[in-house]
């Protein structure tokens, strides 16, 4: 089966890329000043040589760098991501505990931005040179130009503080003990602000891309053919222009995956969303090497998986790629 083979090959490639990413990040992190032992000692507000020595020995930081790298890489090969120095838990557990939150946030934001972006973009393309079309584009441009964290802050001030419509932070109401549907609704309510904020910027990108792509597609000969058939503009717009215009958007969306994980760092910080973006920033500050490397590994893996999915979707959407083989 073609797809199976494709996925296998892509995964093999992904393994190589991930391996390189691990090594690069391992080296990068070593360049950072300070080490986890010193930071943990510092947090305790008191320290002595003995304490630092204990910690370093425990974390294996007393070993030569290549030994540490070898240990880490061979650990990864067995899917053992090591222990988080600071949190005292297996890195894998920490990440797996946080990953769903990030997936939920970025996934929702992704779907939201793509759906709304394509909708707004096609509306703008259909209303080119009309005030309503210009308005959509102006809004898209403004969303595009506004710093993400600024929107997030403003959203909290407006919707949580002044209007008190939506919770300002967190993923669910702690202590409310919701289960089942109530829990889902509770999470959904908490998701609204962060997902929307994160989605806005990307929505702006997709809006602009969709419009440009649709205007480009509408210049194509097959659109003229469709008009010559006497098809209604609505049908032409949807079936001929939009479908073709979506192809570059799929590619773009694939490339944006990494950006979105990056954007999640800001969003998760402002909204106290318990995801891996925030965990990454904390791990970096703590020089929690294993955790940081683990997060890099996972987020890169996420990007790669996402790219593979985009590739498959592209293949589904464009018969030419399949057929070319």
């Amino acid at each position: 089966m073609l797809y199976a083979r494709l996925i296998v090959m892509r995964l093999l490639k992904a393994v190589v890329v991930l391996f390189l990413i691990v090594i690069l990040n391992f080296v990068l992190i070593q360049l950072a000043p300070g080490d986890p032992a010193a930071i943990m000692a510092g947090e305790a507000g008191a320290t002595d040589e003995e304490f630092l020595r204990q910690l370093r020995e425990r974390f294996g930081l007393d070993q030569p760098l290549y030994v540490q790298l070898w240990r880490y890489v061979s650990g990864i090969a067995m899917l053992d991501f090591g222990w988080s120095y600071r949190q005292g838990m297996p890195v894998l557990d920490l990440i797996l505990a946080r990953l769903p939150a990030t997936l939920l946030l970025t996934g929702t934001a992704f779907v939201l931005s793509l759906a709304l972006g394509i909708l707004a973009g096609s509306m703008a393309a259909a209303r080119v040179k009309k005030p309503s079309g210009s308005l959509i584009m102006a809004l898209a441009l403004i969303f595009y130009a506004t710093p993400l964290f600024w929107v997030a802050l403003m959203a909290v001030v407006l919707f949580s503080v002044y209007l008190d419509w939506l919770p300002a932070y967190g993923m669910y109401t702690v202590g409310a003990g919701h289960t089942g549907l109530a829990l889902v609704l509770d999470i959904a309510k908490h998701l609204v602000l962060p997902a929307t904020t994160l989605a806005l910027f990307f929505m702006a990108i997709y809006t602009r891309m969709t419009r440009a792509s649709m205007l480009e597609a509408s210049q194509q000969d097959y659109v003229k053919t469709a008009r010559a058939k006497g098809l209604a503009p609505r049908v032409i717009q949807r079936r001929h222009i939009l479908r073709n215009a979506l192809l570059p958007i799929i590619t773009l969306a694939g490339l944006q995956a990494g950006q979105m994980v990056g954007g999640a760092i800001l969003t998760e910080t402002v909204f106290a969303w318990p995801g891996i973006g925030r965990l990454m920033f904390e791990a970096l500050q703590q020089r929690d090497y294993n955790l940081l490397l683990g997060i890099f590994f996972f987020s890169a893996a996420l990007v790669i998986v996402f790219n593979i999915i985009t590739d498959l979707v592209y293949r589904l959407a464009d018969p030419r790629i399949k057929g070319a083989s």
Partner: protein, 540 residues
């Protein structure tokens, strides 16, 4: 057989161009009728406005172009007064249209059957389930091989000719009274073109439609037209039956156009003094492998399969073939833009095919090329003088001297020395091709390869450029490898003609031999397919 009541009647039509265009009106005061059962050919060179009226009929005028006078009567109705919705009801149902580029005119993401069925859907015909059946019937009618498979195919899986048949099937789906065909065969190979023309002619007879056929090619006109309308600069120059116009053109422009068509009269082959060959090509092979990569099996295309020939100093050898014949690859191998897999190219007895790197770069001046596309062959950011001088400069000539040489060459190709300081975009296509020739001459090459050097030009310009080449050939005793898909053009200028098909040489001989007494079936097929060949004596 002609029913004289016009299906379409264009009267005094003037279409204004948007401000800032190079002229005020796309077409001005144009009137003609298209009657049931006739094929009305609208002929003109690029920029003549020949397609504009058709677009007005369809309601598909480009942005900014608007009618300012006249009317377009279709079945008693002035189409110019219709709104978009009313117009839409006519399109596809009562007026069908096919376009020039079959490669791009079909939606790449939809199956062929669905695209045909859309015509029914647009006009609410048949039940959804029946539509596929109708589509299949149409595909059969337009003669697509294996219609059951074709109906499920995506456009990219079909050849250019097949796609054009699908377009025709779509245009005919609802049996329109009027079919508009806008240069439907221009993008096709000559043999395919002949088949499509045949198809249109047959369908027109069978369905008794009125056909408005737009073309730049008098050969096609001769092949298909009932009546002819010649246009120039947005105005009708001449209008009449095909016989009147072709045999007895009234207007000077029409005559000029007809004269410009390469004729069947083949110049006598010069006696190439049998001296040591300038170019010897021996057993040249080239296989293109698509880098299949991980998922696609690598595909092989034999572009050149054991090609051998010679070219004497001062001789012009024509390489003729359809697309995919390998003729361009041959040319590119000779100039060393491609590297042959095996075989050798000897230039004045020295090996030219095994040179590499700097050694090759230093020898490159010996073989130069004239390219096909006058727009792409000149760097838009370089002044013409520099474009010509850069060759000599790259080979060590001081700048000032190289620029003087450029001026001389521009004089030689008839553009005048003042051209050196101008940019390519200030020139027309024909003028640019002259610049391209000047550039090729700048290094005093031993051999010039001309790859479809006149194919992109209008006939009248084509004739001028061919004339220039011929003149230079004599003046400078150039040796020329002339690559073209057009046998008639080859016959005009070549001493020897080599016919290629699928990477192999099918036939080679002197121009009169090949042209007048071809030995091979494929050569005959090519010759027969030349549009208007039957009419040729009359034209000449």
């Amino acid at each position: 057989m002609n029913d004289t009541t016009p299906v379409l009647s264009i009267r005094g039509l003037t279409l204004a161009l948007p401000e800032g265009a190079d002229r005020d009106n796309a077409v001005e005061d144009v009137s003609y009728n298209v009657a049931r059962g006739e094929i009305m050919c609208v002929v003109g060179e690029s920029g003549s406005g020949k397609s504009m009226a058709a677009n007005a009929v369809m309601g598909l005028l480009p942005k900014g172009v608007r009618p300012t006078a006249g009317e377009v009567i279709f079945n008693g109705q002035d189409l110019l007064t219709l709104d978009e919705k009313q117009h839409r009801q006519l399109r596809g149902l009562r007026i069908g249209m096919i376009f020039q580029e079959p490669m791009t005119a079909l939606n790449p993401l939809m199956r062929v059957g669905a695209q045909i069925a859309e015509v029914f859907e647009a006009h609410g015909r048949y039940h959804a389930r029946e539509r596929q059946g109708r589509a299949l019937a149409l595909l059969e009618e337009v003669g697509i091989p294996q219609p059951e498979r074709a109906i499920r195919a995506y456009p990219f899986q079909l050849s250019g000719g097949q796609r054009q048949r699908v377009m025709i099937a779509m245009a005919l789906a609802l049996e329109p009274e009027l079919l508009i065909a806008d240069e439907p065969t221009t993008a096709l190979d000559v043999t395919t073109q002949a088949q499509i023309l045949e198809l249109i002619r047959n369908l027109q007879r069978r369905h008794g439609m009125a056909v408005m056929f737009i073309t730049h090619d008098f050969g096609v006109v001769a092949e298909i037209a009932t009546r002819v309308c010649v246009m120039r600069h947005g105005r009708i120059v001449e209008l009449g039956t095909v016989g009147e116009v072709l045999d007895n053109p009234q207007h000077a422009y029409t005559r000029a156009l007809l004269d410009a068509i390469p004729s069947n009269v083949v110049p006598q082959a010069r006696d190439a003094e049998r001296q040591a060959p300038l170019l010897e090509v021996k057993h040249l092979r080239k296989v293109f492998r698509s880098r299949g990569g991980l998922f696609k099996p690598a595909r092989e295309v034999r572009a050149l399969d054991d090609i051998s020939f010679t070219l004497a100093p001062g001789e012009t050898v024509g390489i003729v073939g359809e697309s995919g014949s390998g003729k361009s690859t041959l040319g590119r191998c000779v100039v060393r833009l491609e590297h042959p897999d095996s075989g050798s190219i000897l230039l004045s007895g020295t090996d030219y095919s095994s040179l590499k790197g700097n050694a090759l770069r230093r020898e490159r001046h010996r073989v130069q090329m004239i390219f096909q596309d006058p727009y792409a062959s000149l760097n838009p950011r370089h002044r013409v003088g520099y474009a010509i001088a850069q060759g000599p400069m790259a080979n060590g000539m001081p700048r000032a001297q190289a620029m003087r040489r450029a001026e001389e060459l521009l004089e030689l190709v008839g553009l005048g020395a003042v051209a050196v300081d101008r940019f390519p975009h200030e020139f027309s296509g024909g003028q640019r091709q002259r610049i391209g020739i000047a550039r090729a001459l700048a290094l005093n090459p031993e051999l010039i390869v001309a790859d479809e050097a006149v194919s992109a030009l209008d006939v009248s310009i084509q004739a001028q450029v061919l004339e220039l080449l011929d003149e230079l050939k004599h003046k400078l005793s150039l040796s020329l490898l002339f690559i073209t898909h057009d046998l008639r053009v080859a016959a005009q200028i070549c001493d020897t003609i080599i016919v290629m098909q699928q990477g192999r040489i099918v036939e080679q001989g002197t121009a009169p031999e090949v042209f007048l007494t071809p030995h091979e079936a494929y050569t005959r097929q090519l010759l027969d397919a030349i549009p208007g060949r039957a009419h040729e004596p009359a034209i000449a």
